[in-house]
């Protein structure tokens, strides 16, 4: 699927952007390489029971930028993502070693409030998972959890979140209808709105568009582009072109290890490791 049609011209500037090894082009965008570090993991190991799913991951994730995690199935992308908001805590037998620092705080420290952490680090799942409740109640779920009961305040938060996730115009006249009646793509944007409503700084997305049609996927990508200005985004994707299109940084995982991590521009045009190049050009994976 991802075989590069032609090898000459890679890394060259075209009139639209930079051509990549995976085909397609990188769009030019403002430089975020000097943004401060938001998430820092050091020698992070993660185990499911006796099985080691991550080995010694050391990575720096920049603030207000999009970092894409790529790699073959089962290489630990989702696992890594879940260590960042401690969703692995809900899996019996899961355990980590090493540190994950967010804003300089070790999130596995003894005094960390996990609920507060998850409010700060929101998560969007692979399969859209709205609650079987109304659209309004879906978005208001988070704020209500955290003690907001005032109707006017909730209405304001719901509207703001739906606007930020670019779905307000499609649902503003039917906030009381069930979220289950929305299309898959709308449901996924609703799930993003639901996350935005709790006021996160980081948004984790695990293949958020893999179950969607191309048009809905394009909308999600456009949304990620918008959100990038205010949020730190870490996205897992199976789709090489998508990673090239949406991300500023790319991390290539293989068998639980972080093989290469750098600017998307570099990874997709001039990777330092042979394995990365093979994966990106579709020669394997």
């Amino acid at each position: 699927m991802l075989i590069a049609e032609e090898n000459q011209g890679i890394g060259e500037k075209t009139n639209m952007g930079t051509r990549t090894l995976a085909g397609g082009v990188l769009s030019d965008r403002e430089d975020v390489t000097r943004n401060p570090i938001k998430i820092f993991t050091r020698e992070l190991d993660m185990y499911y029971g006796a099985v080691r799913a991550l080995q010694g991951i050391t990575a720096e994730i920049k603030e207000r930028a999009v970092t894409a995690l790529i790699g073959p199935s089962g290489c630990g992308k989702s696992t890594f993502l879940r260590t960042l908001n401690r969703m692995n805590d809900t899996i019996p037998g899961a355990r980590i070693e090493g540190t994950v620092m967010i804003d300089g705080v070790n999130i596995y420290g003894a005094d960390v409030n996990v609920a507060a952490l998850r409010r700060m680090v929101g998560m969007v799942f692979q399969k859209q998972n709205p609650f079987p409740k109304s659209i309004f109640d879906n978005v208001a779920y988070g704020p209500r959890l955290h003690g907001i009961t005032d109707k006017a305040v909730l209405e304001h938060m719901v509207e703001e979140s739906l606007k930020k996730s670019a779905i307000w115009d499609e649902v503003k006249d039917r906030l009381d209808t069930s979220a289950m009646q929305l299309s898959g793509g709308q449901q996924q944007r609703l799930c993003i709105a639901r996350v935005l409503a709790v006021g996160p700084e980081i948004i984790l997305m695990d293949e958020p568009a893999s179950a969607l049609d191309p048009l809905s996927t394009a909308k999600i990508e456009e949304l990620i582009h918008q959100l990038r200005k205010n949020y730190t985004i870490v996205i897992v994707t199976h789709n090489m072109q998508q990673a090239a299109r949406v991300s500023d940084f790319t991390a290539y995982f293989y068998m639980g290890s972080l093989v290469e991590f750098g600017e998307t521009k570099t990874i997709f045009t001039n990777p330092t490791k042979k394995e990365t190049e093979d994966y990106i050009t579709g020669r394997f994976g």
Binding site: N85, M87, T90, V114, A115, A116, L117, R118, R119, G122, M123, F125, K127, N129, P130, F131, P132, K133, Y141, G142, R144, L145, H146, M180, C191, R194, V195, V198
Partner: protein, 313 residues
């Protein structure tokens, strides 16, 4: 020669098994239909000799009062037999309703614990224990209620009657508890992990997730459990026969003796002359009971189906 892909694969024994299963399915439906027809055919005969209004009450001359009074009584052995269904329905509700409330509260708590909170080791012990509870013959529960719990309840609440609706309700609650827990727990376990994850990822605690996501998503299943439990409670016979005192009174007092529709049939049908008005009256009680529980089962089935659809969407 036929190709092996087009050759009929079924042989005689397979055909036979299919037909036998079909027969079993049809005959069980047929039996249901026959019970229904027989019950209602006999029940209708009551109206050949009696006034439909008798089912509510009768004007009877009262020697003490010296004038006619309207009596809502079930008094089948009497100079003027009275077949009012009111005290029986009243008794049935006064047992089944509190029983459902008790079993509902306990059962929901138990189901939440089993499906959401219990470590798998505890669950492995609790589930079979519950199934054992379901296997206790109701006569044993009735006996325990009558012999021990009734005294305890009388001493605690200082009730006038030792055997009363509340004692019966406690016993019936025990009898319907396992099925209610099973259905409610199934409903909660059927709530996809996705939804719990979504809730946790928004910063919800375990309890907030249970109460804000799992229980609302399973609400149809939980309702079905309660409705079905209520149906079972209405139909329960042996425990109420033993523990409620069997006085057919029209009352709202939960500590009063009552007689339920089921206990009434069980107590009287054995000694009644076949074909008498009394005999048909008892069938009528049975038909009313059947209708009650049939409707309740139907409603719970519809509610469960609705939930399955809702979660699938």
């Amino acid at each position: 020669m036929r190709h092996r892909l087009t050759k009929k694969s079924g042989n005689f024994s397979e055909w036979l098994i299919q037909k036998l299963l079909l027969l079993a399915g049809i005959s069980s439906m047929l039996i249901m239909a026959l019970i229904f027809v027989f019950l209602f055919k006999e029940a209708v005969r009551f109206f050949f000799t009696a006034n439909p209004f008798d089912l509510i009450g009768k004007w009877v001359y009262d020697d003490w009062e010296g004038h006619y009074v309207f009596k809502m009584m079930w008094q089948s052995i009497s100079e003027v037999p009275k077949y009012s269904l009111i005290p029986l329905i009243c008794g049935s509700l006064l047992v089944a309703f509190p029983a459902t409330v008790i079993a509902g509260v306990l059962g929901l708590g138990c189901a939440i614990y089993l499906s959401e909170l219990a470590p798998s080791k505890v669950r492995e012990i609790l589930k079979p224990t519950l199934e054992l509870l379901a296997g206790i013959p109701s006569v044993v529960i009735g006996f325990v209620m009558l012999a021990f719990i009734a005294t305890f309840i009388q001493n605690t609440f200082h009730t006038k009657f030792r055997l009363n609706a509340f004692v019966g309700a406690c016993g019936v609650a025990l009898a319907v508890l396992p099925i209610m827990i099973t259905i409610a727990e199934d409903a909660m376990r059927a709530v996809p992990k996705d939804l719990r994850d979504a809730s946790y990822a928004l910063g919800a605690t375990k309890w907030q997730t249970v109460w804000g996501t799992v229980v609302p998503a399973a609400v149809s299943g939980i309702s079905a459990a309660i409705i079905l439990g209520f149906g079972r409670a209405l139909g329960e016979t042996m425990i109420v026969l033993m523990a409620t005192g069997n006085a057919a009174l029209v009352t709202g007092n939960i500590f009063s003796s009552v007689r339920t529709m089921t206990a009434n049939i069980a107590a009287e049908l054995g000694s009644v002359a076949q074909g008498s008005e009394h005999y048909y009256a008892l069938f009528l009680v049975g038909a009313v009971l059947f209708t009650f529980t049939f409707v309740l089962n139907l409603v719970s089935e519809i509610v469960l189906n609705k939930m399955r659809q809702k979660l699938r969407m």
